[in-house]
């Protein structure tokens, strides 16, 4: 158990180190915070619940329309981007990146991390 938590913390810390990432969190599919890089846990909890809802709603909408499971949800605003990807049936991974960050690299890192998270929780 302790090992899993350590590995999770490492995964989050590594992802946080990727260029442009402001904060990131691992969240359970039903909206509970697993681990985050945010200082204020209470903020992180709301953030977790909202991200899980967003991804869940997007996945429901897309599959209902026969378009399959979406790869990710990207929310863009002038202040930055929020990206949520599924990480297996139990969890998802969310990052907030600064607006000038290129998407290519961060999506790659995020997918890699999501795969690891999925394996970690199996």
């Amino acid at each position: 158990m302790t090992d899993t938590i350590e590995l999770l913390d490492k995964l989050i810390a590594d992802l946080k180190k990727s260029g442009g990432v402001e904060s990131c969190a691992a969240v359970s599919r039903d909206g509970l915070l697993i681990r985050s890089s945010m200082q204020k846990e209470q903020l992180a909890e709301s953030f977790a619940a909202m991200s899980a809802t967003m991804l869940g709603a997007a996945e429901t909408a897309s599959t209902e329309l026969g378009k399959g499971v979406p790869n990710r949800v990207i929310v863009e605003s002038t202040m930055g981007r929020l990206i949520a990807v599924g990480a297996g049936p139990k969890a998802l991974l969310v990052v907030i990146v600064s607006p000038e960050t290129g998407l290519g690299l961060i999506l790659l890192e995020l997918d890699k991390a999501a795969n690891k998270l999925k394996e970690l929780l199996e």
């Binding site: 158990m1 302790t2 899993t4 938590i5 350590e6 999770l8 359970s28 599919r29 039903d30 909206g31 509970l32 697993i34 681990r35 209470q42 909890e45 709301s46 619940a49 909202m50 899980a52 809802t53 967003m54 869940g56 709603a57 429901t60 139990k90 969890a91 929780l121």
Partner: protein, 389 residues
């Protein structure tokens, strides 16, 4: 009797720890357990008792800083709170504390100081900050012998002894002796990975002065605040326009909602800190077209508030259906008879009849918009979740 100050634990222990008894917090490595000893001693100081803290793993000033981090002001207990400094001599630093162990790696020297404190002080709460560190320095067998002596003496001098013990891989016999024989009470503090909730819990393994309650509680450690019992998810559900969002906001210390055109379309999320409990509240939408989202968010709840509009009995069928959608049958739930201020509102008893509910289902009358009854409802649900003592 002294109280541990840890929410629910005193209730589980039949009021607290009687004078002359010993208690060990048996802590899994990697879990934030040291705070248990700190919270216990702070609480007994607050109640006017004398307290002694035995520092083995760091300098006393760091421990004092930890008290401050938790928001516990120990400066006002100066003449009632003493440290046994079993660290500074190790690093060759001078110490200003009342009791100083000159050779903390020698159990006889250690024991001499502890015994003189036991003899000199009025009945006190004596907390060992880290029994494991003493074992590491002085050896397993030697330390265990000394602990037995201290516990025996505490009985005669009416002290309460509390130990923080981190269960590193010591010998099987030692761990077993600590868990089963050496102390009057053992509280295990550990971590769980229940599906994906990573939490920490405590539970009573043993308490020889009361009937043992084998109940575990999730907790989290807040700075400031200390140990709070943690309920990761309480679901608030109910038909359209029954007042779910209003209820979440009335109950929560802080809450956010995703609503458009006056109705919740995604969820309400709130956080409650109340009477030593820390809980996260998830409010679902009520309208049928959002059912997929309700299903998505309702997993892993520990309890449910089902909100009904007391003036609108036609909605009761939908309310029952929502319990099914959220897979909440079997979970502790409380029915919130909201909008009690409106004309034509049914009483809880009338609702029970309409709903065809048995008598053990609690129905709490509430006016969510005026925050009336919401905390009562919270207490009722918490009691059901924690086993209602």
């Amino acid at each position: 009797m002294i109280e541990t100050g840890i929410p629910k634990l005193d209730e589980f222990l039949g009021g607290g720890i009687p004078k002359g008894k010993s208690l060990v917090y048996y802590i899994q490595p990697g879990v934030e357990g040291e705070v248990f000893g700190l919270q216990t001693i702070y609480n007994s100081l607050k109640k006017g008792d004398t307290g002694v803290f035995v520092v083995s793993s760091t300098i006393p000033d760091i421990i004092k800083g930890q008290f401050r981090d938790f928001g516990w002001d120990i400066s006002k207990f100066k003449d009632k709170f003493f440290f046994v400094d079993a660290y500074d001599s190790l690093i060759g630093a001078p110490s200003n504390e009342k009791y100083v162990v000159p050779n903390p790696d020698n159990i006889e020297a250690f024991s001499k100081i502890i015994i003189s404190a036991i003899k000199e002080l009025p009945p006190s709460t004596i907390v060992f900050g880290s029994l494991s560190t003493i074992i590491d320095l002085c050896g397993e067998k030697e330390t265990m012998q000394a602990v037995m002596t201290w516990n025996k003496m505490a009985k005669i001098y009416d002290h309460v002894l509390v130990y923080n013990f981190t269960a590193w891989p010591y010998s099987e016999e030692s761990l077993k002796a600590i868990k089963e024989d050496m102390f009057n009470a053992v509280i295990s503090v550990g971590g769980i990975a229940e599906r994906v909730i990573f939490g920490q819990y405590f539970g009573i393994l043993k308490a020889d002065w009361t009937t043992e309650i084998k109940k575990s509680m999730l907790f989290r450690v807040l700075r400031p605040g200390g140990i709070k019992l943690y309920i990761p998810k309480i679901l608030v559900t109910g038909p359209f326009d029954s007042g779910k969002s209003t209820f979440v906001h009335a109950l929560s210390t802080r809450a956010i909602s995703v609503d458009r055109l006056g109705t919740t379309i995604a969820l309400d999320h709130g956080h409650v800190d109340y009477k030593g409990f820390s809980a996260d509240i998830f409010g679902t939408p009520g309208q049928e077209r959002f059912d997929p989202i309700i299903k998505l968010l309702s997993g892993e709840s520990m309890g449910v508030f089902l909100i009904v509009d007391s003036t609108n009995p036609t909605d009761f069928i939908r309310a029952k259906q929502m319990l099914e959608i959220t897979k909440s049958y079997g979970l502790p739930f409380v029915i919130i008879a909201n909008k009690q201020d409106l004309p034509g509102a049914l009483t809880p008893e009338e609702i029970r009849e309409q709903f065809d509910l048995s008598h053990d289902v609690p129905i709490v009358p509430v006016i969510a918009k005026d925050k009336k009854g919401v905390y009562e409802a919270f207490e009722v649900l918490i009691d059901k979740i924690t086993g209602g003592l």
